[in-house]
């Protein structure tokens, strides 16, 4: 039985790594589902979701892109998925510990008789972060909104040393090391399934207020690997 799937994709580390794991578990990814939400969305990852077009190109996958928010946006995306890819039976999500995401994705998916696979669900958060880097997901932070996480990670590809430092800081300051509470947002620049990689050529770190920082990407390029 071929397990055809679509991946709910935001371009961050969680959705990229869950897609990676689903691929390893034998799911055949037919397309990406990209929701372009408003800035303050509670359900979807927001910064640089527009770069998912470049990432989809890097992955060599087509995508369904819907502007909107909440359950209605996902409903629209799944209706289109059903029409364009009737063979798809599974949705891959990067839900880690957020029931808000997991259950809402599940509720809408059930309306379309789709099964939701969340390969990262309830995994140990620290081990997860180590695995992401260990398994070749190259990502940077695009925003920080928690006390204790320094802006030096913005624009930098996170390596194993950074991971250990982030884990240590998370213990000191009491934030989630995998940023499940929205402490930071991430952008994946390269991954084992990427055929091309993204290179940030010019950027600026914007200090918005107190401990809130944002990465302003001025120029980004896609190069063959």
């Amino acid at each position: 039985m071929v397990k055809y799937a679509a991946a709910l994709y935001s371009g961050g580390k969680d959705s990229t790594y869950s897609l990676h794991l689903a691929y390893l578990q034998g799911y055949v990814i037919k397309c990406l589902l990209v929701i372009i939400p408003p800035k303050d969305s509670e359900l979807y990852h927001t910064p640089y979701v527009n770069l998912t077009l470049l990432q989809a190109d890097s992955l060599g996958l087509p995508f369904i892109r819907i502007k909107g928010d909440g359950m209605d946006a996902l409903r629209t995306a799944l209706a289109k998925l059903r029409k364009d890819y009737p063979e798809v039976k599974y949705i891959i999500t990067g839900a880690l510990r957020s029931d808000y995401q997991r259950m809402r994705f599940n509720f809408i998916a059930s309306e379309f008789n789709l099964k939701v696979i969340s390969p990262l669900w309830r995994k140990d958060q620290e081990e997860y972060l180590r695995d992401v880097v260990r398994h070749g997901i190259r990502f940077t932070l695009t925003s920080i909104s928690v006390k204790g996480l320094p802006p030096k990670y913005l624009g930098k590809i996170i390596d194993e040393r950074d991971v250990e430092e982030i884990i240590m800081l998370s213990k000191v300051h009491g934030f989630n090391p995998a940023f499940e509470g929205g402490e930071a947002e991430t952008l994946v620049l390269d991954a084992p399934l990427f055929r091309k990689k993204l290179i940030i050529e010019d950027y600026e770190v914007i200090h918005e207020w107190e401990y809130v920082y944002r990465l302003l990407i001025k120029r980004i390029r896609v190069v063959e690997k």
């Binding site: 510990r97 029931d99 997991r102 599940n106 309830r122 995994k123």
Partner: protein, 430 residues
């Protein structure tokens, strides 16, 4: 008065306190005594055996073994729909009746006792038949009429039972099967007469169930139970799709849950109950076989093994240990039944004796015994089960029970044939 029993020279003793080297003890009227030797009674040579507190099956529909294998590859909802329809038709035809549920229950109970089971929580039609089967074998049972609608009918039903190891429980099927307001009013009415009685209910077994509750009430199932003050002193079954916000509500509550990993996996309900988190917040986690059965295998220790394997895979870690699962199976099961879970002077635990087979004997020690019990039931087979001070299983049942089991098997073979013929008729009609 039960016959005094001397358990002589066991290799190890296991209970809520852990594993320790064994020493001889007597059981007189169910009470453990390490000092007194008996002058007459049963002497059990336990030299190559482990003595443990009993195991408990905390959720089941035991007569359903009669329908084992039917619709077994359909997944939860089609299976449930077909089984309910079949049950209704079989009841109309008089094939599913109290006699046949008694014999089915007897077979199920005998298989359970072989895997060290000392007590069963049950929910099914002709519920008294399961109680009678437990009485025949000597098992504890918690049960009651399914979906009672008032205290007076509940009282009338349970008053027909006169078995000292029977404990009534309020069997409400589910939040999708019974209206929450009815559940609340009946539970309150029954509890105003029996304050300690537990509510036994399926919760969050499938995604569709949770979606249905959420759509109807705008709440997750545990949130709904909390709103109606129905969490304390309840036995919540499955909890596969429980959310973190619901787990918070269960923190430090007097609440039990029955985890049914084998049934959940066979019916591919799509999510594994968050056992680590539930255990951490103080929910008393127990294990159950449930009613779905694709074959005739009934083995509580297999359920325990399935549990640890499934949870390790789910969490990608060894957070759930063999000891945790032993706790769920034995220590917490005993808590649910209100039975002592330590083998100590003056205490009254149920007892299971397991062999350590010759091939394993030199490899087993105090440090790995629990792993052998949980992961290798075939290397540590149950040889004796003692419930409430009575030996109910000793590599076989007493001759009266064995005779009844033999009769039950031949009887059920005929009933089963009738069910198959009947199903053929139904299919032809369709």
């Amino acid at each position: 008065m039960s016959e005094p029993i001397l358990i002589e020279n066991p290799m190890y003793i296991v209970d809520a306190r852990g594993v320790r080297k064994g020493s001889s003890f007597t059981i007189i009227d169910g009470e453990v005594n390490f000092k007194e030797r008996i002058k007459s009674g049963r002497i059990v040579d336990a030299r190559n055996r482990v003595v443990s507190i009993g195991f408990y099956n905390c959720h089941s529909h035991i007569p359903m073994i009669l329908l084992a294998g039917f619709y077994s590859n359909l997944g939860f909802w089609p299976w449930l729909k077909n089984i309910i329809s079949l049950e209704n038709k079989l009841m109309d035809k008089g094939i599913l009746n109290d006699e046949n549920t008694y014999y089915s229950s007897l077979i199920y109970c005998s298989l359970l006792a072989r895997s060290g089971c000392c007590g069963i929580v049950d929910m099914y039609y002709y519920w008294w038949s399961a109680v009678n089967a437990c009485e025949k074998i000597g098992l504890r049972i918690m049960s009651g009429p399914p979906n009672p609608n008032s205290w007076s009918s509940f009282r009338r039903e349970i008053s027909r039972i006169n078995y000292n190891l029977f404990t009534p429980i309020i069997n409400m099927h589910s939040l999708y099967g019974v209206d929450i307001n009815i559940i609340k009013s009946v539970v309150d009415e029954i509890r105003s007469n029996i304050p300690w009685i537990k509510l036994h209910i399926h919760v969050s077994e499938t995604r569709d169930e949770v979606y249905g509750i959420w759509s109807k009430y705008g709440k997750y199932p545990i949130q709904l139970l909390e709103e109606y003050n129905l969490i304390d002193n309840s036995l919540l079954v499955h909890l596969c799709w429980t959310t973190y916000s619901e787990i918070e509500l269960l923190k430090h509550r007097r609440c039990f849950m029955a985890h049914c990993p084998t049934s959940n996996a066979l019916l591919y309900t799509g999510s594994v109950a968050p056992i680590v988190e539930l255990d951490e917040v103080g929910v008393v986690v127990t294990l159950g076989t449930d009613g779905f059965n694709p074959s005739y295998e009934v083995n509580l220790r297999r359920v325990a093994k399935d549990s640890v394997l499934q949870l390790r895979q789910q969490y990608w870690s060894a957070e759930v240990s063999a000891w945790d699962v032993y706790r769920f199976l034995a220590v917490n099961g005993a808590k649910l039944f209100g039975v002592d879970n330590v083998i100590a002077e003056g205490r009254n635990p149920d007892i299971v004796l397991m062999d350590i087979v010759r091939e394993a004997r030199s490899f087993v020690d105090e440090d790995n015994l629990i792993e052998f019990i949980v992961y290798s039931p075939e290397l540590t087979p149950v040889r004796m089960v003692i419930v409430n001070g009575n030996i109910i299983y000793d590599s076989g049942f007493n001759s009266d029970v064995e005779k009844e089991i033999t009769y039950a098997l031949s009887k059920l073979s005929n009933v089963r044939r009738k069910v198959c013929e009947f199903m053929g008729e139904v299919e032809n009609e369709e």
